[in-house]
């Protein structure tokens, strides 16, 4: 009896929380004619026309470019963040360097409204000709990803026995050698977790994409909204839905495959951060 009630609550919660995704998925398979007569969840005669329309490149809309931009900026923002965080995490965890200054400063960044840096960064990017470039947006996403990557990596290195370092020191290895030959291989799960988490965060970022790009480097989160303004005759909801599904798919798939790692890192970032 109580188990049935639990299943009922689960079903309601899962349905309510995933409702916008379900609606969008169902609308993306509706023909333009069905859309005007059937706003319900059930699709009567499913069609792939909307997806075909989405992948049609016009001079105003180019979904391949938006997806490629999102992929590039997410990769830059993720790899660079981990590359910067790993040596720093080692210095913090083992050298006890900046434990009371650098670490809290970066961790607090997770909680600061990033809009406060947005305007000077916009001006700076104008001077450096980084506006509307994938590199520019990637650099900003590095800032966004840095706090969690650092927390995950510091915790991972702290959990390693220090005998590992000492044995290598005895053999005459330098700290840099130890980091790359001993620590990094052992920390691979933590590194992979920060890469996945960073990729999802960066792919889903919107504010800086909106501010710092206009045409060449537009990411999918911003590009998707272009489809809402497309064509004179109001929003084509079927096509708009297909765009949203395509744009949401990469992080959702990655998240579903790796959700165990992600749930672990969310808790780590929250509780220890």
């Amino acid at each position: 009896m109580i188990t049935a009630l639990r299943w009922l609550v689960f079903a309601i919660a899962a349905f309510a929380m995933n409702f916008p995704i379900l609606v969008t998925l169902s609308t993306s398979f509706k023909s333009a004619r069905e859309l005007s007569t059937n706003p319900g969840l059930w699709v009567q005669s499913p069609t792939l026309d909307n997806y075909l329309a989405v992948f049609q490149v016009s001079d105003r809309l180019n979904i391949f470019l938006y997806l490629f931009n999102s992929l590039s900026v997410a990769l830059i923002g993720t790899v660079l963040a981990v590359a910067l965080a790993l040596p720093a995490a080692y210095a913090i965890a083992r050298g006890r360097l900046g434990e009371r200054t650098l670490l809290p400063l970066i961790v607090n960044l997770r909680a600061v409204p990033l809009i406060i840096f947005a305007i000077p960064l916009y001006m700076m990017f104008q001077w450096l000709a980084l506006l509307d470039t994938r590199l520019g947006l990637g650099l900003i996403l590095t800032i966004v990803n840095l706090p969690l990557a650092l927390v995950i990596l510091v915790n991972a290195i702290r959990d390693l026995p220090s005998e590992l370092d000492e044995a290598a020191l005895m053999d005459g290895a330098s700290r840099t050698q130890i980091l790359f030959r001993v620590i990094a291989p052992v920390c691979r799960p933590a590194i992979v977790t920060s890469l996945i988490f960073g990729f999802i965060t960066a792919w889903n970022e919107f504010l800086f994409g909106l501010m710092l790009t206009t045409s060449k480097a537009v990411p999918i989160t911003v590009g998707a909204s272009f489809f809402f303004a497309a064509s004179g005759g109001g929003v084509q909801w079927g096509v708009a839905s297909a765009v949203m599904i395509v744009g949401a798919l990469p992080p959702v798939l990655l998240g579903l495959i790796m959700y165990r790692q992600i749930s672990g890192s969310m808790t780590a970032g929250a509780v220890k951060g």
Binding site: T3, R6, A13, A16, M17, N18, P20, V23, T24, L35, A85, A88, A91, G95, L97, L102, P104, I106, N108, A111, P113, I116, F117, A118, I119, P120, L121, M123, M124, Q126, T142, I143, S174, R175, T176, L179, N204, F206, L207, M211, T221, V222, A224, S225, F228, W237, A240, S241, M244, P251, V252, G255, Y259, R260, I262, S263, M266, T267, A270, V271
Partner: protein
């Protein structure tokens, strides 16, 4: 190890931390200085490179701008309400559903799905969901109740946004609480059952107090994220109707990009900057003092 050997090691650690420090100086230190200078300058898009010092005029302009206070109040109320709702719902679901999830962890994957979707896309999705002609929610309301609401009109738009944010981020709280609940040693449940404690007593006197630190952290994180909300609100309502749903992030964005009021936008950024760092360092300070007291 002798001191002479330790010396180069410290230097090597410094070297390892240098890249991240340089990166932060360029991408956060420099912007922070620009913020401070421009906030006390007279500046427009034409005179971007030659700001003229003008004292605290920009701060006065922000301080006396009713839209700034409206946005602050929106952000605060939105952050507080969504944090409490998300954590309340998440706590209930985590504890009530844990017997199901323990055995089938894929259930958690379904519940976590909304966390993987960009908030901007979720906001756009609700434009469809709530649309008066093609949206299923008004459609089903008309079909079964013969009436519908104007979800994004004045009066209701705030609550619509609260529901949108809560439904997307309750899974985050749910996940944290589920992990904390699972981390409670099973001996505690067994021991209290031996002592004849009822299960709701065990929940109230033992399990919830053990989960309290996680609950506080989750409330804090969700408050901060709700306070600085931008993406879903921006794509769903812009800031309307009539600026009633402008968060502080949207206020700053619009002051800069729509009105070109650079000085005002930067001054508002500086205020937000000072307040958030003061609050964060205060919290860190309290947290470290409490840790010290326990030791």
């Amino acid at each position: 190890m002798t001191k002479a050997q330790q010396r180069p090691l410290v230097q090597e650690f410094r070297l390892l931390a240098t890249p991240v420090v340089l990166f932060l100086l360029v991408f956060l230190g420099f912007p922070a200085i620009v913020n401070l200078i421009y906030s006390v300058s007279d500046v427009s898009f034409e005179t971007l490179r030659q700001p003229e010092l003008s004292g605290f005029k920009n701060f006065v302009a922000v301080w006396s701008d009713s839209a700034f206070w409206q946005a602050s109040w929106f952000s605060f109320r939105f952050g507080l309400l969504t944090a409490v709702l998300e954590c309340g719902l998440g706590l209930f679901l985590a504890i009530f559903l844990s017997p199901l999830i323990e055995r089938r962890s894929w259930l958690m994957a379904i519940l976590m799905l909304p966390l993987m979707v960009a908030p901007a896309l979720v906001g756009l999705m609700y434009r469809l969901v709530l649309h008066e002609f093609v949206g299923p929610v008004p459609y089903y309301l008309w079909t079964y109740f013969g009436a519908s609401l104007s979800f994004l009109g004045p009066g209701s738009s705030f609550w619509t946004l609260v529901v949108v944010e809560t439904l997307q981020w309750t899974p985050f709280a749910l996940l944290l609480f589920y992990m904390a609940y699972q981390a409670i040693p099973s001996e505690i449940a067994e021991a209290s059952a031996m002592d004849g404690a009822k299960s709701h007593h065990r929940l109230w006197y033992i399990e919830l107090p053990l989960m309290l630190p996680t609950i506080v952290v989750a409330l804090l994180i969700r408050f901060i994220d709700g306070f600085r909300v931008f993406d879903n609100v921006y794509v769903l309502t812009g800031s309307g109707p009539g600026g009633s749903t402008a968060s502080l992030s949207i206020y700053i964005y619009e002051a800069f990009f729509k009105q070109g009021a650079i000085g005002k936008a930067v001054a508002a950024s500086v205020i937000l900057f000072v307040v958030s760092f003061a609050v964060l360092y205060g919290l860190n300070f309290i947290a470290s003092r409490r840790k010290g007291a326990i030791r």
